[in-house]
Amino acid sequence: MKYIAIVLLAWLGASQAGGDSYVCKNAKVSIFSKAPLEDISALSGKAVSVYNPATGELVFSVPVRSFVFEKSLMQEHFNENYMESDKYPNASFKGRILEKVDVSKDGTYTVKAAGVLDVHGIKQNRTIEGKVQVNKGRLKLSSEFIVKCKDHQIDIPRLVFQKIAENIQVKIAADYSRYQK
């Protein structure tokens, strides 16, 4: 009896941490930049996100190493020279979706998320527009925004042959399901 109670307690305690959260373990993040020599694009399907519609709280995190580029040398330079992924392994956004999203009603909401964007270890306050789609208890989040290399101290040296654009276009897409332990 005691043990059942303990197990019950542990289970309830664990589910408590999730609350009313929705999670996505395989969110997609793509980056794109137009450069004179060749366009640079990369995709990661390993971002994770937690969204709590009750509080509006939104956390989004992507491992920098998970971005796959067309060219492996580009990928190496992205990690080694620009993002320094061994020092700053994740890029993240922590904030709140300002609008109330009613998860019990299907529909599409245009929303704004305000919070802190952490790229290359440099934190920037950002308000980013996006869309939340509610469909039968599942949530879809998508957004498109610009990250300026300068804002996050990603320096582009003059002595580089492949010129790299100052502005990086970022697209995210996440498919959430209700958090279940």
Binding site: M1, S21, K25, V50, V59, E76, H77, L159
Partner: protein, 312 residues
Amino acid sequence: MRKCLSLFMLILSSLLTLAQDAPADSLSADSLINALSADGKDETVIAAFKSTRLILTPTSETMRKKDLNFMVVHRFGDVAGKDGGSRTLWGLDNSSDIYIGFEYGLSDKLDISFGRSKFEQLLDLGFKYKVLEQKGDGSMPFALTVIAQMGLKPYEVSTNVFDDYTNRLSYFYQAVFSRKFSSRFSLVAAPSFLRNNLPFPYLEGNEKNIFSVSVAGRLKVTKRMGIVADYVHPFSSFRKDSKSPEFYAPSAIGIEVETGGHVFTVNLANAQAISPINYIADTESKWTKGQYRIGFTITRVFSFGKKEQNNY
């Protein structure tokens, strides 16, 4: 007593369930995201070196699939000593060795290389294979890459002892152990075996087989520039005892600059030759006699392959 405890637990549980309706604090979302994300520690360590070779010693890096590396390596004449000085513009008038080579990635772990040296007109064909890769979590603390190379001297340089064609051949095997200690500092230690079917240089008592060990490292000063140093020690009693000529351990120091696809090295080395088949067997120049030279390496990577990218 036991019943009492159970009851207490149940009450506590129901209290917690009620608490669930309260807004979760930011800590819970944070811990949730931490639980979801992989820590990334088990990732393979990449870019221990910027290039497939330092000055003398190969690194553990190989060309990745469908990447082609084009190399031009140059060693000038003696900076000082009797062949150097202002008369030869500190050696720039002479070239002790010129190497033009290609490396092509057959897979992400295996590449094939081909090159030609001015020194002994040596042609070399080789394979380089990544056996082990260093892991971020320390489960594999170092990387191991193995090299097998065959050398051919197509011309008779200083002798007519090439009557038997197999005498023109040499074989070089190396196990390159490397470790990236930090994003700045990487080190290689590479034991190797060189077999010359005809002892080179062609001297009485010279050995066909030479074991040697190379130690080399890179210390990044900035993100794109670093200091590189190489030392090669041949274990050869003939070379140790020989008085005329005298043999020395090849060593070099230089600066490496990476500019996105290109890697340049400017260096000073006592070794005249560029290929290990040549410099392990025949380094007769001594730093303190002014017999060191300016050298440079230019490499350029061309990517022919495109990775699968499932855009959405």
